[in-house]
């Protein structure tokens, strides 16, 4: 009987080892996937000076293909969404964060284990990435 208990304890140790390694592996994979998409979107956004709905829809589809569901609303919250009101690339040494920077917030609901780790770490289960990026958009002034 005692040998069985010891074996059980050893097995439990292995189960804990396996579970923790799986959880950390999944966490890092998901974080990397979401971060990649976030940086792609903010790069496209900086290039155009605003977030086009087509770009947003394309990358939302990609996130859904990765297995993330947007149960909490839209994935991307952008500062500029109107093509008539774009962020402009700054003129030499005249940088105004309110005029020349785009701001993007990506919020994704990850899998259950990742959500628990996130909740323990930050108090919120979701992956949340916020970034400002200088706009690269140069308006064409005619001529």
């Amino acid at each position: 009987m005692s040998e069985y208990s010891s074996s059980l304890l050893s097995l439990l140790t292995f189960v804990i080892l396996f579970t923790l390694s799986a959880i950390t592996f999944v966490y890092e994979e998901e974080q990397a996937a979401v971060r990649t998409v976030h940086l792609q979107v903010i790069k496209e956004m900086a290039g155009a000076g605003y977030l086009d709905p087509a770009v947003s829809a394309y990358y939302s589809d990609r996130l859904r293909q990765e297995g993330f569901d947007n149960l909490i609303g839209a994935f991307f919250t952008a500062s500029h969404t109107d093509p008539m009101n774009r962020a402009l690339k700054p003129v030499y040494s005249q940088v105004d964060p309110h005029v020349n920077f785009v701001h993007l917030e990506t919020r994704v609901k990850p899998s259950f284990s990742t959500e628990i780790v996130n909740w323990l770490r930050t108090g919120n289960g979701d992956f949340l990435f916020r970034n400002d990026r200088e706009s690269q958009y140069i308006p064409f002034l005619g001529g």
């Binding site: 005692s2 208990s5 010891s6 304890l9 050893s10 439990l12 140790t13 804990i16 080892l17 923790l20 390694s21 950390t24 966490y27 890092e28 974080q31 690339k89 700054p90 003129v91 030499y92 040494s93 005249q94 940088v95 020349n100 920077f101 780790v117 770490r121 930050t122 919120n124 949340l128 916020r130 970034n131 400002d132 990026r133 200088e134 140069i138 308006p139 002034l141």
Partner: protein, 139 residues
């Protein structure tokens, strides 16, 4: 369970593995956060267009404090040190058009990690190039 010493050792190993995993995960996340902050800081300096390397210190310090508060990171600004030095370029001392710089971020390691390793600080460095701003494209 008659082997008390063995049982005790098993339980010890069980806790040791868990704490080890938690520590490794925490340190990896800390490194990711530091790299993200540093990339943003480099972008910030690049976007500024024209400034002296000596003026980057206070600028980046306030910026990083804001970023840590905004992004809800578990980092301490007082343990952090960031320096920017110009490497090559056409101007004499200022960071201007297409100049290249080296940004170095250091952060104190957590105690357990520092105990097992020789160097007591994380050191990350990124090279950046100042934005070629279109001051001659749109007169």
């Amino acid at each position: 369970m008659n082997n008390y010493l063995g049982t005790l050792l098993s339980i010890l190993v069980m806790f040791l593995i868990s704490s080890g995993f938690v520590q490794v995960h925490t340190v990896e996340q800390m490194k990711q956060e530091l790299r993200e902050l540093q990339a943003d800081a480099v972008k910030k300096v690049e976007a500024e267009g024209n400034l002296l390397p000596a003026n980057t210190g206070p600028l980046l310090r306030t910026y990083l404090a804001d970023e840590i508060a905004n992004k809800n990171f578990r980092l301490d600004i007082n343990k952090m040190n960031i320096t920017v030095s110009r490497t090559t370029g056409i101007s004499d001392d200022a960071l201007t058009y297409n100049d290249e710089f080296l940004c170095t971020l250091t952060y104190e390691k957590p105690k357990l990690v520092a105990f097992f390793q020789n160097n007591k600080k994380f050191v990350f460095s990124i090279r950046g190039t100042m934005e070629p701003l279109p001051y001659d494209a749109n007169p």
